[in-house]
Amino acid sequence: MTQPRLLVRNLSCGRGERALFHDLDFELRGGEAARVRGENGCGKTTLLRTLAGLQAPHAGTVHWQSATPARDGEPVLLQDDLCFVGHENALNGALTPSENLDVLMRLAARRVSVRAIRQVLAELGLDRVAERPCERLSAGQKRRVSLARLWLSEAPLWLLDEPASALDVESRAVLCARIDAHVAGGGIVVFTTHEELTLTHTRVRAIELTPC
């Protein structure tokens, strides 16, 4: 496998027609992590969504590996190389954690056995609620279920939007350990966070967003 590489050039993004930031440049290679910094509403979520290809930038390009968008402003599809944990948990309230994860992994084109899902849920301290509808879980439990994808996925690029929201101290430590392991294994992580995430083995670069 070639070494993963995420390259961003002259990226300008906005929400709707409102411009949020201009001319962002950075490059991340396998084994690097970056935290997106900036005030509230300066486009952190927008940047992650743009990197994921969910929305088109106003200008500039995102390159992944050797893939190059057809033209400026076109989203580049990362497809199976990406694990995106968004602001929302992507869990249906009427389904149980294992049912939700099963569908999510199938959507990610990953074949994961029920046993593997159970095992990860147990590691995250969710074995007692694994067969309970998600709507009856606490906010922290739901977030952990959603993050369980990080243990099941093999994607080299992770985009995490506030992964630690609603997590307690222990879960946060577990998450940090997982991120450390992913980066040590040659992956790339881009994340936003309000909580302090202390990654012991990873040097975290900062991507500063300055409002325009």
Binding site: G16, E17, A19, A56, R71, G73, E74
Partner: protein
């Protein structure tokens, strides 16, 4: 290709849109005026319909433009979706109210014409019914555009809707015709006569061509306003208006 790229540049388009609009407006109005004059004054009285047939010179161009307008919107929608060309989005948005106006005119004039011919304002005749549904298709595009706040998303959504609509237009027309022949007997043919007198036909063609040019002019007019609104925060628009 280079030419297309240059034409796609918004400031350039804004600058040349006014002369182009004039170049469409002058011959368009002249041709339409000649066609209408020919239809109202010079064409001989129709032996079946009397002078009522003179409504044709506004009705037929309107009906033609209602279809032409929707088709051109769908083409623009395709271009907007595939190549993300802003100008195509703006065209689609600006053409919708103009096309809807002509569709409305086709309906109203058809109905006014129907009154002396059939003795009633409205019959569920295949053409009128299809035209009515076409009007709803236009109104759907306009309503969708008004409902979505972000202009870019709105235009892209309308592009897709216009494309879906244009695939449906022939199906709708065929189904309405099927329904009509099945249950009401053959449609009343109004201008399907094989040979039209030359002095009736020439003004009609002039009117149709003239109104098509007018359609282009009005759409350009709308595009200028739409373009200015969408680019109101950009540097080139501000520069345009700061110098007076």
């Amino acid at each position: 290709m280079l030419w297309l790229h240059r034409f796609g540049s918004l400031p350039y388009f804004y600058r040349i849109s006014r002369p182009i609009a004039l170049a469409l407006a002058v011959p368009g109005v002249l041709l339409a005026a000649y066609g209408v004059y020919g239809g109202l004054v010079e064409a001989p009285v129709d032996y079946q319909q009397g002078d009522a047939f003179r409504i044709l010179y506004i009705h037929v161009p309107s009906a033609w433009l209602s279809l032409f307008g929707y088709t051109s919107m769908a083409v623009a929608g395709f271009v907007a979706l595939v190549w993300r060309l802003k100008l195509a989005e703006i065209f689609l948005v600006a053409a919708a109210p103009v096309g809807a106006s002509f569709t409305f005119l086709a309906l109203v004039t058809g109905s006014i014409w129907g009154k002396p011919m059939w003795g009633t304002w409205w019959v569920w005749d295949a053409r009128l019914t299809s035209e009515l549904i076409l009007l709803f298709l236009y109104l759907g595009v306009i309503a969708l555009h008004n409902a979505i706040e972000s202009p870019r998303t709105a235009a892209r959504a309308c592009s897709l809707l216009a494309l879906v609509g244009v695939i449906n237009v022939p199906i709708i027309h065929y189904s309405v015709e099927w329904w009509n022949t099945l249950h009401q007997g053959p449609t009343v043919t109004r201008f399907g006569r094989p040979a039209m007198e030359m002095d009736m036909l020439v003004p009609l063609l002039c009117a149709a061509l003239g109104f098509t040019l007018i359609f282009g002019w009005l759409t350009l007019w709308g595009m200028r306003a739409q373009l200015l609104w969408r680019e109101r925060r950009s540097r080139w628009v501000k520069r345009l208006f700061s110098d007076g």
